[in-house]
């Protein structure tokens, strides 16, 4: 089991964003995390990535109980995340953002040419179209930014890739590319967690679907065995005849 989340809770003032949530992802598996707006999906992602510390609950990674107190800890474990709010430095250019925190270097000196070469290759391989790569990210379109954020997550050697609504702003082709990429990551034996509101995409790409509702677990389905109706029912909390009781 690559990741095992148990009983995680997180409260923001009046709002119990997560309430004893469990979740697991295996190597070579794509788990989709779905749920209504405000269900707590992004909060869970942030817990796993070390962006916030949960009020309670435990995390296991590759069999060992781990404490993830800051993003750095998650990265050290091999957890690589695309955040819903992208988290780019708008004042830096594309290359700067792609390699942020893991710059290619010799001693402390950055190897700019090498980074730019790798960046261009990666962007090309993902079919990302950015006309002026040296402009600050502030100048990019919504989809271009998302592409940069996704590309970023693939640098290094991640063991678990988390994508929070990766295709929300992407065009048709890029979306297909990303879904294809997710499958390729799984085939390389990585664990992948995807959040999306697009149930068609989710069904196309995931092995398992985990549903959150109002901060709690509301279902865990094998994608192959489950109808769309059942998932929608779990998301909305309305009874559905096909719900597997």
């Amino acid at each position: 089991m690559t990741l095992q989340v148990s009983g995680v809770s997180k409260r923001y003032g009046a709002v119990q964003a997560l309430d004893g949530v469990d979740l697991s992802v295996e190597a070579g598996e794509v788990v989709a995390l779905v749920g209504d707006n405000g269900a707590g999906k992004s909060t869970l992602v942030k817990v796993v990535s070390g962006v916030i510390t949960p009020d309670s609950g435990t995390l296991e990674f590759e069999g060992r109980t781990v404490r993830i107190n800051r993003p750095h800890d998650a990265q050290a474990l091999g957890i690589s995340t695309v955040y819903q709010d992208l988290a780019l430095c708008e004042n830096l250019d594309v290359v700067g953002n792609l390699f942020l925190g893991s710059e290619e270097r010799r001693w402390s000196l950055m190897r700019g040419i090498r980074m730019e070469r790798r960046a261009r290759d990666l962007l090309t391989s993902l079919d990302v179209r950015i006309r002026d790569i040296s402009a600050p990210v502030a100048a990019l379109s919504g989809g271009q930014r998302q592409s940069v954020a996704i590309t970023r997550a693939l640098l290094g050697e991640p063991r678990l890739v988390i994508l929070d609504e990766p295709t929300a702003a992407l065009g048709v082709e890029q979306t297909a590319q990303v879904l294809d990429l997710v499958k390729r990551l799984r085939d390389r034996g990585l664990a992948v967690m995807v959040i999306s509101h697009n149930l068609a995409d989710v069904r196309a790409v995931s092995d398992r679907i985990v549903v959150l509702r109002l901060g709690r677990n509301a279902g865990d389905f094998r994608t192959a065995d489950t109808s769309q109706g059942a998932i929608v029912a779990a998301i909305t909390g309305l009874e559905d005849p096909t719900w597997p009781q």
């Binding site: 990535s49 750095h72 995340t81 988290a87 004042n91 925190g101 040419i113």
Partner: protein, 402 residues
């Protein structure tokens, strides 16, 4: 695919000339508007007083820049994070006093005195940085407390003495009265142009070899030529009087070295990242606390260096060392030079250009024979005018007006 800029095997002049023009079109005029402001200042004061553009006076100007300019460099480190350091004046004064006490009263050798004073300043910066990051106090308040408290310590250390003079012929005083021999100054200028040009060409080659787009050759040549002209004019003018002052060389070297650090090292990149979006930097695994603390340490250390330069120039320290308008001038120089108060944008050359603007105005005003009240009003007007040129040139560019 088609729209990802690929490197042509040979530079296509058309395509790449565009990239220089594009910068301008993007509103990224770099230092050009500030330089236009400086030209205005030169014309105004050059017309009002014959001596303003004399070799002797420009040498004075060079001497007057180094201390506050160095402090301003430290301020830039903190401004790049979107924070502020109000303590740099007091810290510069305190360090100068410490250095003087070590040297004059305890007979410590000058170099050790300087090193010890800067080391103590670094510890002060560490304290500021930790109060900011670990206690979460606003940097404004931390460094305001520093401004008051370190001045208190300065007064306490000076005690009843008041002023302590440095030995006139000691190494520390000599530092402000040393001049590069003409030959050496020309050799230095040539070496700088050579290294700059060489590295530009080498990196151009390397980019081409890596299949990355390169600047058109003429543009590179223009830049190298521009640098050569600026350096040669400076050296020629200063050699027309006493020579190139050592303190100017020290300040210039600091500007260049820190610019290289900021743009080419990982640490420099992280400073920009934290200044641009601290949360994004944190999520990228950057140790934001360490970056911030480092910047405060750098600010205090550079303040100390500036204070020591000031003491060397005055050949004394007294109760008002580091006081007066040093703080405001150091921050203003950074801002006038184009450093954003909101973080993430600016280069060390801002300190150089900004302090040039401020000191030329001060210097020019001092040549005029007017009452202080008039002097203040004219200073304000010229300052506003010089910066207005810059601001108007930048206007319309995305994210302007900040």
């Amino acid at each position: 695919m088609a729209s990802v800029t690929r490197a042509p095997d040979r530079a296509e002049p058309g395509a790449v000339l565009r990239s220089a023009g594009d910068r301008l079109a993007r509103g990224d005029l770099g230092p050009l508007p500030v330089i236009a402001g400086l030209v205005v200042i030169a014309i105004v004061f050059g017309t009002l007083n014959d001596h303003f553009l004399s070799a002797e006076n420009l040498t004075n100007l060079a001497l007057q820049m180094a201390a506050t300019g160095t402090i301003s460099l430290g301020v830039i480190m903190v401004l790049l994070l979107g924070e502020i350091d109000l303590s740099v004046g007091s810290v510069s004064g305190l360090s100068a006093v410490l250095m003087t006490i070590f040297n004059v009263e305890h007979g410590l050798n000058p170099l050790l005195s300087v090193v010890a004073a800067i080391a103590i300043a670094a510890v002060i910066g560490l304290v500021h940085g930790l109060m900011f990051t670990k206690l979460g106090m606003p940097s404004f308040v931390v460094t305001l407390a520093g401004l008051i408290g370190w001045q208190g310590l300065l007064l306490y250390l000076l005690g009843k003495e008041g002023t302590i003079n440095l030995p006139f012929d000691g190494a520390i005083a000599k530092m402000s009265d040393s001049w590069l021999p003409p030959v050496l100054s020309w050799v230095t200028a040539i070496v700088i142009v050579g290294v700059y040009g060489g590295s530009a060409l080498v990196s151009r080659r390397a980019r081409a070899a890596a299949g990355l787009p390169v600047q058109v050759l003429t543009w590179a040549v223009v830049r190298i030529g521009g640098l050569a002209v600026v350096l040669c004019v400076t050296v020629a003018v200063l050699n027309g009087d006493r020579g190139v002052p050592l303190t100017l060389v020290i300040f210039g070297a600091l500007v260049v070295a820190l610019d290289l650090v900021l743009r080419h090292t990982v640490g420099g990149r992280w400073i920009y990242a934290v200044g641009g979006n601290p949360e994004a930097a944190r999520r990228a695994g950057i140790n934001v606390t360490a970056v911030r603390v480092t910047a405060f340490v750098a600010a205090s250390s550079l303040a100390a260096a500036g204070g020591i330069l000031a003491a060397s120039r005055l050949v004394a320290v007294n109760q008002s060392s580091g006081g007066s308008d040093i703080l405001l001038n150091a921050i203003a120089a950074a801002v006038i030079g184009g450093t954003s108060l909101f973080g993430g944008r600016g280069r060390t050359y801002a300190a150089l250009l900004g302090i040039l603007v401020i000191q030329s105005i001060t210097n020019g005003m001092l040549l005029l024979n007017v009452d202080s009240s008039v002097r203040f009003m004219v200073t304000a007007s010229v300052l506003a005018l010089a910066v207005a040129i810059d601001s108007l040139a930048r206007k319309g560019r995305p994210g302007a007006a900040r």
